[in-house]
Amino acid sequence: MIKKENLKIAIASGKGGTGKTLLSTNLAAFLSERESTLLVDLDVEEPNDSLFIKGNLIRKTEQHKMIPQWDESKCTLCGECTKNCKFHAVVQMGKFIAVFKELCHSCYACSELCPAKALPMHPYKMGETAEYSYNNLKLIESRLMIGEEQAVPLIHKTHKLVEENFSNSIFQLFDCPPGTSCPVIAATENADFVILVTEPTPFGLHDLKLAVETMRKLHKPIGVVINRSGIGNDDVENYCKTEQIDILTKIPFDKNIASCYSKGELVYNKLESVKHSLNEILDSLKNKIPCQSLQGFETLKGI
């Protein structure tokens, strides 16, 4: 038995648009009917969860990354900083040291190796984290500023904020960005389990394979949710069976789901098929994860 206080579940996908947000928001709301639940929106470039979880805004926190700031009075124009920066973010041009904020990776090399200490690190706002409360559900949403290009630093900051302030939520769901590159790696960092959402189409299958490969590299236990089941073909299902990946549930294709989603509404209380799927996910997780909190969780029946 994992004697954990909380269970961290990441919801990811290879392909965008498969239903991560649909699942994250509905599963979070569903779980919060019984236990304190936290939903963290880590799709920092395009965060959408707050469109569906209409909670009260509790607090907004500015998030910063550290970047060097040129102190002309101390600088000897030795040019070491330009040599030390691998990202072309600090460049000496004659008597001027230019710092290109968007390129900086905050490695501190230029700052700490400057012989004159002329590049002290200063915080620079790159995003915002908002906390919302909706009954027993807390939503943490991080949003990258327009013009900022790097998602990873904000995702890391958000994880830290969650660790420091919200570890008493029993269920912690992390809505991840799509794809398989570094933002997803950062988003799934602390997850105990990763749910991969896919659709039964060739695009869905292709990207699911990439997502599975990624999660296996990270040694994360996984389960698949097939959304829009009924369209496309059986290739995704067959792939899961061959690879011995559990299909936690299949959410049937239903234009009503799209309709509710389009209006920013939660759907599990309106459609029995979705509630049924959420129950199936819960049952699957119980069998997979020996976690105390989960075992005691009664499946909700009926509307």
Partner: protein, 112 residues
């Protein structure tokens, strides 16, 4: 004075390149000798990051007195170049270098 243009081509009747960082060429017109000098910026094109940085550095090496361009360099590059006492003029979109020069002379371009 030496006037630099971000250019899509190599000659006086080439069209201004609207971009700064990924401009194809930098063409420099020397008002005294009335000659054109060409700097090929194609190596910078492949950069995902730091195109503006690299082009700004090239500007620093070339040191024109005036830069005439379309969209203009981003904030950091602009500050760096202005520190080199370079005057930057923007909004020369879709003009030939010759037309852009005329506009600059007539005060029709915007200085940033």
């Amino acid at each position: 004075m030496r006037i630099a243009f971000t250019s899509t081509g190599k000659s006086w009747d080439s069209i201004i390149d609207s971009r700064f960082g990924r401009t194809e060429y930098i063409v420099i017109f020397d008002e005294e000798t009335k000659t054109l000098e060409l700097v090929d910026n194609s190596a910078v094109k492949n950069e995902a990051h730091g195109a503006g940085t690299a082009t700004a550095q090239k500007m620093y090496e070339v040191k024109p007195d005036v830069l005439i361009t379309g969209n203009g360099p981003g904030e950091t590059a602009a500050t760096a170049l202005k520190n080199l006492n370079m005057k930057i003029y923007v909004d020369a979109h879709n003009l030939t270098l010759e037309q852009a020069y005329e506009s600059y002379r007539n005060g029709a371009l915007k200085e940033i």
